[in-house]
Symmetry: D2
Subunit: 210 residues, 4 copies
């Protein structure tokens, strides 16, 4: 089915289902080619600065070729394991990101309603909390100041959580929080926030307060 | 009711309900005293190194006295606002911590089941993910290696989420994720993990996989 | 504190926290009186037809007096156990009601979006499903036809779930679904459905669909 | 791909994904045949008494043939709409069933812990609650008495919720409660209850109580 794959090395940088990618890689292999899943991880700032990470899944004995090919694009290139493992790692990374952003929204909104000032909220989440991180720096002021210019659209985060959930069904792992967040993102999307940055999930909490 | 409060300044370093604390502070004030809520935030490592943060709520014009009194105990002393605001900030900080730890457990377990190696998981969450943080450093190897020596007991995290939920009812803010996590922590406690470190929540995901 | 209670029998028909009621009953008893919690259960139709049920908690050896007093008001009078037990039963009954109504909303909306006709949806939930019940009869056409005239206001259901959650914390029982539903009701309330019938929770699903 | 379908009418009584069924039906049609999805709904008691309902999706002008063919097997045969609509209705029916059973478990366990007697619990859910239904009659005594002889295995309910969730992603409908219940069922399955009746979900609440 993929005769053009013969003798080729295909590197797929997109974020798709690992199961789909593994099937595709098997198909490529049967047709005499090689395939790697190589999703990128990083913030929009990382992309601009060529400091993005690429996480590679595929045949280990050909990883060095892939590393060389990608070395100018990325700040860091990691070998994750067999085909699909790059994508599983990307999904696991996006999973904690989704939990963190949603958790931040819930906590910031709680603090706002309690009457904490913007400055104190910012100090809390950026300097005091043990969860302070590049993600906090990236998203906190967006949430506090309702500036939802897109870095990563809410609807794309929702789609990614849906891939996680389908893979979670196959792996038989419970994903109660990711499942809840996926549904909250969908509701936020229904309320009109899909095209805005994922940090706009805080608007669901604001609008959902009687 | 609190006649002994007359002329005194009471600094309460415990984590209790902000509502309770505000009532108490009013009572102290009516009896001629002053009260501050001054909960501590920080990891067990911070406590050892006297680098813990103290977040103070109470009458602003007496905050400097409190700062002086506490200056040897803490690395950082922040004024949060009126009575109760220290505790609300502490709760907001613990809320994002709970979301993060539970999200980390869900994501690590997902990665484990997908077949990612311990080393790659560690690299992902400590070096690549934009959510890498002091909390990741503190908890990741505990989860990956099932070392649940107590830094902060799971049952105490559960109790804190219960305070958040009760305060959330009063503030009328939705706390869907915190509420779910509170219940997951309780189930983990029922399964025997209450006295272990909160990072043992990952065992609920492991045991809950068919 | 309640000296006027001496020699009196107090029957409280309101739905309050069982813990509060038990404390009150103890107080009444210490002052030489008797108290019963006697919340009512039933639909608005039951109330009109004097077919409401009253569930009584309090000293068993005085239950017959209470039964006689209430016999004209209610279709059924049940002895639930000691003080507070009437209210716990009422809460347990409202808990399954909340789960059912929310589940009905989620399922009807799913069927609507799949393209099932109103008639087939009505047939499914009223005649075929093994969950067909007086509650389905009461609420189904309201949801299908978006007729949210109040029988039981959404905000009152939300408040009841909040009592359940606080009592659940005391009893240490996990209430993951009730907690989620409480938050969904709150979000619906924030979106403007609080004063409408609880069946309007279906609007959260409709508006939350991108 | 399905040449043997030519001139045939295929009636599929299994519960599969509506999307899969619609694709299959299109394929059958292109090969000159007809297909109907015709899942069954009903309790195990209904099956024994030939009172099960069959919900049919497929070309309306051939529905009467299907009705005649199935008339001896079922108590009720309903036309749901085009291909896939039978399965969507079945899923919607199982969705409210899952919500109801899980809600019943949560509420019964709450009542148990509050100290309500088995008899009063039974009276409440079978006679007083407006949610009393054939499903209550079928499952209540199983839960109260921990008799989990299989009528419908917990793991099959979990698998059905997973189909609902995948279809919900395609239809873009939020399914927060169904998603939570799916994860709770999975955790219960991980704890060893998968082969028992779905009513054994109450054991998750019992074991999950500290």
């Amino acid at each position: 089915m993929l005769p053009y794959a013969k003798g080729k090395t295909i590197i797929d940088l997109s974020t798709i289902s690992p199961t789909t990618s593994i099937n595709l890689a098997n198909n490529v292999f049967l047709n005499g080619g090689l395939m790697f899943d190589a999703p990128m991880m990083g913030t929009s700032v990382d992309v601009e600065q060529k400091k993005v990470s690429i996480i590679v899944g595929g045949p280990k004995d050909h990883f060095e070729e892939v590393r060389n090919l990608l070395s100018n694009t990325a700040g860091k290139i990691i070998y994750a394991g067999n085909n699909g493992m790059g994508l599983y790692m990307k999904l696991a990374g996006n999973m904690i990101f989704a939990s963190f952003i949603n958790g931040l929204a819930e906590a910031i909104h709680f603090a706002e309603r309690a009457g904490i000032s913007k400055d104190a909220i910012t100090d809390l989440f950026l300097n005091i909390s043990s969860t302070r991180s590049p993600a906090s720096i990236l998203k906190l002021s967006k949430m506090v100041n309702s500036n939802f210019d897109v870095q990563f659209a809410l609807k794309h985060m929702r789609k990614d959580t849906e891939i996680m959930i389908r893979e979670g069904q196959k792996l038989k792992v419970p994903l109660p929080t990711t499942s809840l967040i996926s549904n909250l993102l969908k509701i936020a999307e229904g309320l009109g926030f899909g095209e805005l940055d994922v940090s706009s999930i805080i608007e669901l909490y604001r609008k959902g307060t009687p």
